[in-house]
């Protein structure tokens, strides 16, 4: 009676499962867990390869790490958090959360990538834009010693320029 008035809830109403269904659920979780483990190893592996050495552009390591993390996240949300088998309105609800997150990131970036920020001047005291890797600064000359230098991440010898003032 009450059930017929509420549309779209039938999927969340779990019957006591018969044996084969029970098996298939556990099997799905095991597969997802195995995939997550593979992705974890991939994250570690990818972190130690400098993709910029053989690929153009300067965003590969960050991009690959983000892609693997998002894949892991999607697997967790779809299968462990039961969004895939849940009622549609939960799917909409969950997606709404990430839509707001994208809006927030988008608006942050719209501001920070287009605004000269007097609060964070470069070494010469000039206001500057957000600093994207591999992209020359649009404003004044980019400050030296503040740009990423690949292949020279080892402990730097203290020089007069980067000695702490205290």
């Amino acid at each position: 009676m009450g059930q017929s008035q509420i549309q779209g809830t039938s999927q969340i109403h779990d019957q006591v499962l018969t044996h084969p269904e029970h098996e298939s659920h556990v099997k799905t979780y095991v597969i997802v867990f195995a995939l997550l483990m593979v992705l974890l190893l991939m994250t570690i592996g990818a972190a130690f390869i400098d993709f910029h050495k053989f690929l153009p552009g300067n965003f590969w390591n960050l991009g690959i790490a983000a892609t693997i993390a998002i894949t892991k996240g999607v697997l967790i949300i779809l299968f462990f958090m039961h969004v895939k088998t849940g009622p549609r309105r939960i799917v909409v609800f969950a997606m709404g959360g990430f839509l707001w997150l994208l809006l927030m990131i988008g608006l942050f970036m719209a501001d920070y990538t287009t605004r000269k920020d007097p609060l964070y001047p470069n070494n010469k005291g000039e206001p500057r834009y957000i600093h994207f890797p591999g992209k020359p600064l649009p404003g004044p000359t980019p400050p030296t010693g503040d740009t990423p230098q690949h292949g020279s991440h080892g402990p730097a010898e203290p020089t007069p320029a980067n000695k702490p003032s205290h």
Partner: protein
Amino acid sequence: MPHAGLEHHHQMTILENDTYPAEQFEDVDQQRLTVTMGMWAFLITEILFIGAIFVCFFIYRSRWMETFTEAGMMMAWPLGMLNTFILLTSSFTMVLGVHYARINDKKKLVQMLIVTGLLGFAFFGVKCFEYYTEYKHELVPGLNFNPNHKAADGTIHVLKPEFQLYMTFYFAMTGLHALHMLGGLAVLVVITWYAHKGKYTSGNGYYNPVEIFGLYWHFVDLVWVFLFPTLYLLRY
């Protein structure tokens, strides 16, 4: 046969004074949908809360790319990897727990909840060890920070001022995550006790607390899945 029909267990008594479905709900489906949506509403606020901190981190990282990369390379990634493994495994045991609650297997439900809890405590232990090591190495801004950092090979490595900003982000983000874990573990203890009492496997289909606690636990796992590469693995 449990769960034969909705009318069968309408207003059935769980333990002493709970009824299921609760009186404000039409039926069990509506109650389950309501608690699930409620938990998702909470998780959405959490996603935005944590998301804002991630955005801030990447904005500052873009400003001090070199120092942030250097700092990321100093983090103990094997411990971070161990913790990722522990947390993903605990998510797996949690989802099995929800599954066993659904099929009224009390023994396995309690087992899975206990394993999940133990893995949660293991994560917390590793995290505490990391914090302790960072404190000993004088890398905690405000408490114990020395810009003349002694590297493993004995050489003195002068840390730039922005390094403290990185460490502040590191402690704020992982600390916030650890607090979420602690809160979750407190709830998990209660849920495990009720599961042991048979509250979620009485045959009337009431296991909503296990299910929505599972959602929360997976969310904490999800945040760590993004924290780990962000703080430990951005080396190039």
